[in-house]
């Protein structure tokens, strides 16, 4: 028998340690090793599940890939018309939302004063019980109308349903008054239908694209960017109106760097140019136009030379661009924009864009604006909502903004502050960071003081969540079912959202929260289905489609119906006149301009600069800054300053400054980007940074908040949207 000498034993054990050390290294080293491993693992180890994305509100269909049950990556679903098989960087980075270390994990209740951000963890039962109790108290003391809902996100569907079944009538999303509401109303007044989302623009086939303030390419609306790129490949002339040399401007044939706030002057001059030179679709106007002669007379004075002076761009440029886009009619698109609430006259500005499109005759035309079609999916039988005694305090029922056709967030906030027409005592806030989204943080804080109950349901501890009495942790879209998406596009479609991975902690999906809350509120019968599988499969099967097939494919396409005149569509306009209203009698009747007029907006005081803001393709509002993947792509924002302005102010590129606006609001520190890409009188930053909730660890105090600097705003009297570009800033250098 061999004797194990001490030396031999050491030799053996070190050898085996060495071998295991190398073996332990093996799986993680090198792409080839990985490839070998992956080749062995796949296909057995990789599963795919389709769902649609909620990283923004485009709602692209995607396919989640898992390796041995663990979330690996998210890619586009080739069958989906929004993604067409490719996701934008937010979608690609969606797995980061699942792994975000700063996400809310369990229900929290406030201990201490509101806004001090001190919490204790509680059970769902306790949290929802507390909410139900408070809500019922509000109902008893003031009426259910005094409980308001703010929502923004697909999960809002059943939260809204539960609350409405209980008696809530005041609900609104910032996407209306703080984003595209003015645009939809402007187009509604002109063509009889709003624009909607996704915008029905035939960019794929257009012969000329005009972007007024739209920064497509930095604004990452997936399918629209895809079509934009296709148009560029076809060498389609692009015309961009923007005080900043955006990515889109860099691909434009004509870039008009107008002074911020003067867009209406430009639009009126273009209308004048087209009418004066006869470069408009006369047949279309003849057949479908209402009040054209009065309109033409109204815009007579708005010459190109006049606009050149207002906008600070050469007259020849205005003329050349106008003649260019007019020459391609009807296959020219003046993009309606998306986030259009800039100066307080935004409905009229959007109407001006609508009128230009009307002159080009591109409504329902190939290469212009097609008429989107939807899909019919049978509804699930749900009980009706109760009648309400008091009127809604916003919109048409209250007559404060006569043409508003959706809830107005800021109107609810106003009522909460004033108590008129009746007090608002409770807010349920689903998936929107009102602190940054609504203008004037000070007013939001003031409103909160009057609340008996503030509930915030979100995935992240946003600034708004920091003020809550109760925080409910939502799941990310990857971890839940939601209502069926029914989309309007060239062809209607339906898309399924289903969980691809379990929520990592005690987060719950909105539909479950709604159902539990409904039970506790005594309206459990409003959601008479066991779970979402039951709800969705019933809807799908009832409509003659296969639920099993939808679960594997993710998308159901409708039958294609005509969307353009070329395809045989008959044009209809749901306006009072039944035609395209070049002259709006209904606006005139309510005391507004029947045709947009130019308002010269206040200039920046000496030493100050107008602040404008926009989007980055890797972030969505203020809700993605802690996503580890997206944070890595862009960890903070910068303030764009013209190089000459920087020199004058003694600012160096990449140095940190603070911005102070006209009301004395001081921002968090932000890096300077000294560049030629912006007017000397304007500064720009990407919206959504400057987080102040300490629980957002990687985003805390990174960059500055554009929303925070929006303390002075104008409200559009036609439909209540609130402005974002009406603030001026000066610079405070870091000592």
């Amino acid at each position: 028998m061999a004797q194990f000498t001490r030396r031999r034993f050491l030799k053996i054990s070190t050898a085996s340690l060495g071998a295991s050390a190398v073996a332990a290294q093996w799986p993680s080293i090198g792409p080839l090793a990985h490839a070998a491993q992956a080749a062995q693992a796949a296909p057995a180890g990789v599963t795919t599940i389709p769902t649609f994305c909620e990283m923004c509100f485009w709602r692209c269909g995607g396919i989640a890939h898992l390796r041995d049950g663990k979330l690996w990556k998210f890619e586009g679903n080739p069958k989906d018309p929004q993604s067409m098989g490719r996701l934008c960087p937010r979608g690609t980075g969606a797995v980061g939302a699942h792994y975000d270390p700063d996400r809310l994990r369990q229900p929290l209740m406030r201990v201490g004063e509101r806004g001090k951000e001190q919490w204790k963890a509680v059970s769902w039962d306790e949290a929802l019980g507390f909410i139900a109790e408070k809500m019922n108290k509000i109902k008893a003391e003031h009426g259910a109308e005094s409980m308001a809902l703010f929502n923004h996100g697909f999960g809002q569907r059943f939260i809204q349903h539960a609350l409405k079944s209980w008696g809530t009538i005041n609900y609104a999303g910032p996407s209306y008054a703080q984003c595209r509401g003015a645009r939809d109303v402007g187009f509604q007044l002109t063509f009889g239908s709003g624009v909607g989302s996704p915008e029905p623009l035939d960019i794929k086939n257009t012969d000329c694209l005009v972007l007024i303030g739209s920064h497509l390419g930095e604004n990452m609306h997936n399918s629209q960017v895809q079509e934009f790129a296709q148009a560029i490949a076809r060498k389609v002339p692009v015309i961009v109106v923007d005080p900043r040399f955006s990515v889109a401007a860099s691909k434009a044939k004509y870039w008009l760097p107008v002074k911020a706030g003067t867009d209406v002057a430009l639009l009126l001059a273009w209308m004048n140019l087209l009418v004066t030179e006869g470069r408009y679709d006369k047949a279309f106007v003849q057949q479908y136009g209402h009040g054209f002669d009065k309109f033409a007379a109204e815009i007579k004075g708005y010459t190109v030379e006049w606009a050149a002076e207002q906008c600070d761009v050469p007259a020849e440029l205005i003329r050349a661009a106008g003649r260019e886009f007019a020459s391609h009619r009807p296959a020219t698109i003046i993009h309606p924009g998306r986030r259009v609430n800039w100066y307080g006259d935004d409905t009229q500005r959007s109407r001006a864009i609508a009128l230009l499109n009307g002159l080009l005759g591109n409504y329902g035309r190939m290469g212009g604006m097609f008429v989107a079609q939807g899909i019919k999916i049978a509804p699930y039988p749900l009980p009706k909502y109760p009648e309400h005694a008091k009127p809604r305090l916003d919109g048409a029922e209250a007559d404060i903004y006569p043409f508003a056709d959706e809830g107005i967030t800021t109107a609810i906030r106003d009522a909460t502050i004033s108590g008129k027409p009746y007090p608002i005592k409770g807010w349920f806030v689903y998936s929107t960071n009102l602190m940054q989204a609504l203008p004037s943080e000070a007013e939001t804080i003031k409103a909160i003081q009057n609340l008996d109950l503030l509930v915030v349901c979100d995935t992240l501890p946003s600034e708004m969540a920091g003020w809550a009495d109760v925080i409910l942790p939502d799941t990310t879209f990857l971890e839940r079912h939601d209502e069926l998406l029914t989309g309007f596009g060239r062809t209607g479609w339906a898309a399924l959202r289903q969980p691809v991975v379990a929520a990592p902690h005690d987060q719950k999906p909105a539909w479950w929260i709604a159902k539990q809350l409904a039970e506790k509120l005594g309206v459990g019968t409003s959601m008479p289905f066991k779970d979402m599988e039951e709800y969705l499969s019933a809807r799908v099967e009832k409509s003659g489609h296969s639920w099993a097939k939808l679960k594997t494919e993710g998308v159901i396409m409708a039958e294609h119906k005509p969307i353009t005149v070329e395809e045989g569509l008959a044009l209809e306009f749901a306006t009072p006149s039944g035609k395209v209203e070049f002259w709006s009698d209904q606006l005139a009747a309510k005391g507004f301009d029947a045709v947009p007029k130019y308002t010269r907006h206040p200039e920046a005081p000496a030493g100050m600069f107008r602040l404008i803001s926009g989007r980055a393709p890797v972030h969505t509002f203020s809700r993605t800054q802690t996503n580890p993947l997206l944070h890595d792509l862009m960890a903070d924002n910068e303030v764009w300053v013209h190089t000459a302005t920087a020199v004058k102010l003694g600012l160096k590129n990449r140095e940190y400054v603070k911005l102070k606006n006209q009301d004395g609001v001081v921002s968090n520190r932000i890096r300077v980007k000294a560049t030629q890409r912006i007017r000397e009188d304007t500064v720009y930053m990407v919206y959504g940074f400057g987080h102040t909730n300490k629980m957002l660890k990687t985003a805390y105090l990174r960059g500055a908040s554009a929303g925070g600097l929006n303390s002075s705003y104008k409200t559009d009297p036609i439909m209540g949207s609130t402005s974002i570009h009406t603030n001026f800033v000066s610079f405070i250098k870091e000592v």
Binding site: W72, E75, R86, T92, G217, V225, A229, Q230, F245, D632
Partner: protein, 179 residues
């Protein structure tokens, strides 16, 4: 013999960084590191401005200085497609290849070996494009065999104006930018 390369249309590229994050999720790139990135070049003075946006990565050069300087042969040219790769268990982490690369395309992986773009060889061998090419929403990226006269990449190079990065370095990069 095939030589894999890329042709990228800078006119279509919007610099959205989809290629960056797709690569990171596909290849488990360690957090804080990227194998590809977006470079923008702006020329002129307001308002006469032009901008080129490029998605950059390792150029998988035909004359790779990172391969010739490697003392262990960890940095090498694969027979398949002449792709430049690093064999991690041969890499000692001397970082000569990092200093040798004119494009700064490499980085030190937290586990100690040197890492970079692999042209997603694991996907290419399955007949797919690299992750960055597959995800790009503007469809501005093209991948293929530069030795195949009929390939889409060669068709683009024949019909469009193009340039490479730092041709003066003599590396003969295989990523071409259409302008």
């Amino acid at each position: 013999m095939s030589r894999l390369g890329m042709v990228i249309d800078t006119r279509k590229c919007v610099g959205c960084q989809d290629c960056v994050v797709a690569c990171q999720t596909e290849n488990d790139v360690p957090q804080g590191f990227c194998r590809d990135w977006i470079t923008t070049e702006v020329r002129g003075t307001f308002p006469q401005l032009t901008m080129e946006i490029r998605s950059e990565r390792c150029n998988h050069c035909d004359n790779p200085p990172c391969v010739s300087c490697c003392p262990t042969g960890a940095s090498h040219v694969e027979a398949f497609g002449k792709v430049v790769l690093v064999t991690a268990n041969k890499c000692i982490g001397c970082k000569a290849c990092i200093a040798a690369c004119p494009y700064d395309a490499r980085y030190v992986h937290p586990e100690g070996y040197i890492d970079k773009c692999t042209f997603c060889l694991h996907r290419v061998k399955e007949g797919k494009d690299p992750a960055c090419v597959s995800v790009c929403p503007t469809h501005c990226m093209h991948f293929g065999d530069l030795d195949d006269p009929k390939s889409a990449v060669n068709e683009l190079l024949r019909t469009r104006r193009h340039h490479t990065l730092l041709p003066e370095a003599g590396t003969r990069p295989r990523i071409f930018y259409l302008s």
